[in-house]
Structure formats: structure tokens, C-alpha cells
């Protein structure tokens, strides 16, 4: 977990939103959406790929597990940046799927056994400082938070 320090004023109050259908082909578009905001608010390049990856893994899991590859669902991606954190809130209307329940104790052992399931969630939790999940009124909400520091240019 990083120390939180004051950051450039350019990060204050940045908000953006992208809504996509629950199709894997839209992952690329979602990644570009996140990259554009990360660069706009000057997040450190060393964090850029990680935050994009964590978001991509969250979206892939929603398509696979919440919607079970049903392409007619929606995924509503809301990004909010303030001087101390980069927050991605993802809503969907698929089935109740709490990614937080999936845990890998020893990643190297997991991989040595050829196991692939749960890797995306492992990455998401490893990269982000906070991963929160709720299911209310038929909607899943996943919130990913990365704390920003002064090293984030």
C-alpha cells in the first residue's frame, strides 16, 4: 500500500464514464478509455499498465461470470479521480458474483499445477489498494481504488 501525498491540482474533479455491452471484443475500447484518463491526470507510467490490467480483468470476469457470455448485458464504467486516488466503479446487471470470494493462497504453486482460474481476480487484488463489491437492487457494483502518490508525476 502506498503513502498518500498531495498530488498535482490537475487531478482534481476528473470524472468520466463509458458504457459497453457485455462483449469481450469491447475490452480494447475499455482499456483505451482508462489509458486516456490515466494520461490526462498524469498517473505514473509504472502504474498505468497495472491499473489498465486490473480494470480489464474485472471486465473480463463480469462478462464470463456475471453475464456468462450473454452479450446483451451492460457494463457501466465510471472513473473518478481526485488528488489522492484513482477510482473505477463498475456496475452490471448480471448475476450476483462477488469476486472477493475467490482467493489464491500461493500463486506460484497454483500456476505450477497448471491452474488458470482466479488469476484475473488475483491480479486485481494485488494491483489495487482497495477492491469493494456490493449487490443491490439487482445490480453488481465493483469498486477498484488505487491510491496516488507524489511519485505519480
Amino acid at each position: 500500500m502506498n503513502d498518500v501525498n498531495p498530488a498535482p491540482a490537475s487531478r482534481g474533479g476528473v470524472k468520466d464514464r463509458l458504457v459497453i455491452n457485455s462483449e469481450l471484443k469491447h475490452l480494447k475500447l475499455a482499456r483505451y478509455f482508462i489509458i486516456r484518463i490515466l494520461r490526462k491526470v498524469n498517473v505514473a507510467p509504472s502504474d498505468e499498465n497495472k491499473i489498465v490490467l486490473a480494470t480489464d480483468e474485472a471486465l473480463s470476469n463480469i462478462v464470463e461470470h456475471a453475464y456468462e457470455f450473454n452479450k446483451s448485458g451492460y457494463i457501466d464504467i465510471n472513473v473518478e479521480v481526485n488528488p489522492s486516488q484513482f477510482q473505477i466503479r463498475i456496475m452490471n446487471g448480471g448475476r450476483d458474483f462477488d469476486m472477493g470470494k475467490v482467493k489464491i493462497k500461493d500463486i506460484v504453486e497454483h500456476i505450477k499445477q497448471g491452474k488458470k482460474r482466479g488469476l484475473g481476480i488475483f491480479l486485481m487484488r494485488r494491483i489495487m489498494d482497495e477492491v469493494k463489491y456490493s449487490f443491490k437492487n439487482g445490480q453488481n457494483q465493483l469498486t477498484l481504488i488505487k491510491y496516488l502518490t507524489t511519485s505519480d508525476r
Binding site: L24, K28, N49, G114, G120, I127
Partner: protein
């Protein structure tokens, strides 16, 4: 399916060079997985995967490597990864794959490690 281009070349001593271009995510990984499975079906287990032109990989792409390394090694083969970009290497590191796979910076090293 697009966004990942795969080229293959036979090298001496039964080694197959697999060159990838594009990105390996949950949308594109299937084509790569099919390619590896086809090679295994032809009893080709010594694979050098050139990642020079892969810009991005997610766990789905990494999963292809995870699922195939055991099969290759059980059949006296291996999978050697060449020149991953920093963003790709970072994902291998985060998943601990760097401890399991041979990752090298050039073809000469790849062929030496496969010998």
C-alpha cells in the same frame, strides 16, 4: 477474431518459432491457445514464442502459457519466451511466471536453452 497475428517457422532440432503480434486478452487468447494445441497434436513440444510485438497481455493470455508448459515438459519439450515488452513482462512477474518460464532477450539464448 482479429487483433492477434500468429506466424510460425520451423527451426532446426524440432524447434518451432511462434511469432505473435498484437495483444493477448480474453478476446484474442483463444486463437493462440488453438495454435499451441495444434502444435501439440502434431507432437511439436519445443516452442520458442517471440513476444517482441505483443503490446499487452492479460491473465487470459498468460493462462495459455500456464496451461501448456506442463504438456510441453512432459513430452521432453519446453516453452521459451523471447523479448517480452516491459508491460508484458510485468504481468509475468505479477503472476510469478518468471519463476517458472525461461524468458530470454534474443533468439540465440532461446535456442541455447532449448538444446
Amino acid at each position: 477474431m482479429a487483433e492477434i497475428k500468429i506466424e510460425m517457422q520451423k527451426l532446426p532440432n524440432g524447434v518451432i518459432l511462434v511469432k505473435l503480434k498484437g495483444f493477448l486478452d480474453a478476446y484474442t487468447y483463444g486463437e493462440f491457445e488453438q495454435t499451441i494445441n495444434n502444435l501439440f497434436n502434431q507432437k511439436m513440444y519445443k516452442l520458442v514464442v517471440d513476444m517482441t510485438n505483443v503490446d499487452y497481455i492479460s491473465s487470459a493470455g498468460a493462462g495459455v502459457f500456464i496451461g501448456s508448459i506442463g504438456v510441453a515438459q512432459e513430452n521432453q519439450g519446453n516453452i521459451v519466451i523471447v523479448r517480452p515488452k516491459p508491460a508484458v513482462k510485468e504481468v509475468f512477474d505479477l503472476l510469478g511466471l518468471s519463476q517458472i518460464f525461461t524468458i530470454v532477450e534474443n533468439m540465440e539464448s532461446a535456442l541455447t536453452s532449448m538444446a
